[in-house]
């Protein structure tokens, strides 16, 4: 897309955008992704950008700088969410919001979160450059935190914006024993010195998030665009079996109480139970035995079970069945994660489908098995979500990658949808 400074200036004058600078610059999304990947780059070419750390501050300031260069109004809030808005008045009527998160997992990729964040800003910048101010204000957002990679809490940015934030989070400490509150204050001091603080919250009419799929479906089926139907609910539990530690050689079989034997039998029954339920995704990803020595009968085995389904009632039913199964096996179950399933807005879904069609892009409607800010926002506001393919389905890894043309296709689809909704 060509830069159009003169037409932009004319368009600004025509539409009378409030307080927007009258010159704008355009940026290449792929270049931007490269530049942001340096902020927290790891030795293995991954990215570690944890909320409120120095790389995170640098990235949010860079985002603000870009937004200003696009001639947008820039705001931050108490959490350090960044907003690039066509409106200079946060109190103004409902806005169309689009974006993703700026933090990463430890040694993650350069696309998860950052792609949607930058693609939203670029799309908005281009729309304004081409068409001037929208009828409905558009706000691009760079959420402060989604991954939970620094503090044992997730989605704090979108939760704060949508009034789902729990104040106990302020006291959570990271590995260096720094509280969320102290880290937040220090980072906010840096942001506030350059960015306008907003003390109200945006009224959200609609939210659209663009993200990499982080799964293999689109790539395997060679489909460039995914339209998300809903985000699966997730229940994660830790299951323990107990026994008595004893010498593997000297303890007769009939005098043993073997936690591993119990665990294997229970895990086997869990798999058999869960494979009955269509649409369920289930994973035993983590296991530890104590004392975990080849010649000692284990006295404890602990394993995780992660279950996800688009239909919350089915997920709840499965959880009940597993609870009973664990009880029958004399095990112990602890619920560690419980995120409710969410449905994307049907109207927004059809807008996104039309946008893909408009761009001549094949698309597929599919659920998201991973959590996203869109999930948190969708509990409160109409939400839609676009996926682009992930090569080999890999994410949360330095190997995370998406073809350049797919990155562009995603941005084009988003831009088309935003235009339809706001202009």
């Amino acid at each position: 897309m060509k830069r159009a400074p003169f037409s932009v200036i004319i368009s600004f004058i025509k539409r009378g955008l409030n307080n927007m600078t009258k010159t704008t610059k355009q940026f290449n999304l792929l270049d931007l992704l490269k530049k942001f990947s340096v902020l927290g780059r790891t030795s293995s070419e991954g990215v570690t950008r944890r909320v409120y750390d120095s790389n995170w501050v640098a990235a949010q300031l860079k985002y603000a700088d870009l937004a200003e260069k696009y001639g947008l109004n820039v705001f931050t809030d108490k959490m350090g969410n960044l907003y690039a808005s066509t409106s200079n008045d946060p109190e103004q009527g409902p806005v169309i919001m689009t974006g993703s998160h700026m933090d990463t997992v430890v040694n993650g990729g350069k696309l998860d979160g950052t792609y949607g964040t930058l693609a939203s800003l670029v799309s908005l910048g281009e729309l304004v450059a081409e068409y001037g101010a929208p009828k409905v204000p558009i706000v691009a957002v760079s959420f402060s935190e989604e991954e939970g990679s620094r503090f044992e809490t997730t989605f704090t940015g979108s939760k704060f914006l949508t009034n789902q934030f729990d104040d106990t989070v302020y006291n959570i400490t990271d590995k260096e024993n720094i509280t969320f509150e102290d880290a937040r204050k220090k980072a906010l001091d840096e942001l506030k010195s350059k960015i306008k603080m907003m003390h109200s919250k945006w009224k959200i009419a609609k939210y659209i998030e663009l993200h990499i799929e982080q799964g293999p479906v689109l790539e395997k089926e060679r489909i460039p665009i995914g339209i998300v139907t809903g985000i699966t609910g997730q229940i994660r539990v830790l299951i323990q079996t107990h026994g008595i530690a004893n010498h593997a050689g000297t303890t007769p079989m009939n005098m043993r109480d073997d936690a591993m034997r119990k665990a294997v039998s229970l895990m086997n029954d869990i798999y058999q139970e869960l494979e009955q339920t269509s649409g369920l995704r289930y994973t035993i990803g983590k296991i530890t035995a104590t004392p975990n020595v080849a010649n000692v009968v284990p006295n404890n085995v602990t394993f995780s079970l992660d279950m996800r389904h688009l239909d919350q009632s089915i997920l709840n039913k499965v959880f009940d069945e597993i609870s009973k199964l664990v009880e029958r096996h004399d095990g112990k179950l602890t619920l560690t994660t419980n995120v409710k399933a969410s449905k994307m807005n049907p109207h927004l879904k059809s807008v996104l489908e039309a946008a893909a069609q408009n761009k001549n892009l094949d698309y597929k409607c599919l659920p998201s098995g991973a959590g996203h800010d869109a999930q948190v926002v969708s509990y409160k506001f109409p939400t839609g979500m676009i996926f682009v393919p992930s090569i080999n389905g890999i994410s949360h890894s330095p190997l995370e990658k998406t073809e350049a043309k797919d990155l562009i296709n995603g941005r084009e689809t988003l831009k088309d949808a935003l235009y339809k909704l706001a202009y």
Copy 2:
């Protein structure tokens, strides 16, 4: 048992013991066990005495000192095995040997090895004090190493004595990167400065080892003496299943290659296969998953399988069956330990039974599921073994304990057997 210094002196003169000092002292076994438990005591009241470390050197020197005080001839060899002998000539015809090992596991108890080592020395000292020199020379031994707690090698003391030592051991390094050879040399320099070095090896007529059971059988059945029938063969393998790591939420079930699911199915089949074989002891004690994260499908699961049986042909057959099973499950099996089953000598077994009867002690013939120096020696020479009860079957732990009266009963039974064999 009373000290009898005068009769001992007379007895020495009558029997004409070569080079034995003419005054002897007697020691209390329980006191000695306490004193040796200080050499390597850990913060949790356990004992860590690894071969050739400073506590090990101190313990062997203390053993030598005791032996000298008993008026016995003391020798060491290239491995640092200590011998307390009624004969001053190692070239002299076959001897009756009795003892155990001086090293411990990391944070082990004060009885495993040390009990048999000290009880043998005390029994021999008392026999000589009471009855003078035996017809057949008796040698008490304190083997240098059995546990493998410093270097990845076990039984080096008894293997060296019985010509089963593998020279590649010299190059094995410990965690501080010190070679077995360097550690050995340094420790031997200290021993040699005080103890006579022998360059030949004892000709062994018979070997008897006294040890704690390290299992629950004798204590549960309230029987003070165990006569070991044989030591189980042990085959230990590592089994691996492979898959592809993927996101637990975004990867549909039909696109997964889940190493945990394969491992659970395989472990379940292994248990079902192994429970068919009577007399087999089998343990899955150790398991690790990679990357071992709750929301990632594991790409690798590795678990140990330890199998023991008194009958080597049955053990071999079971191993073959497991190998086939692992192959059918597309797993990978690596043999890590293969210790052949050994049978105790029937004549020595009957001598030990008679000794227990003579002491009015109830006894039970039982297999040993743990490895012992007696196992190594038995491949070459007639061997017998006595067990005393372990409270709760606990061993390799600071909680390892045996009632005082049981410790005394074991020593009395050994002493009686030695008398019958040598006088």
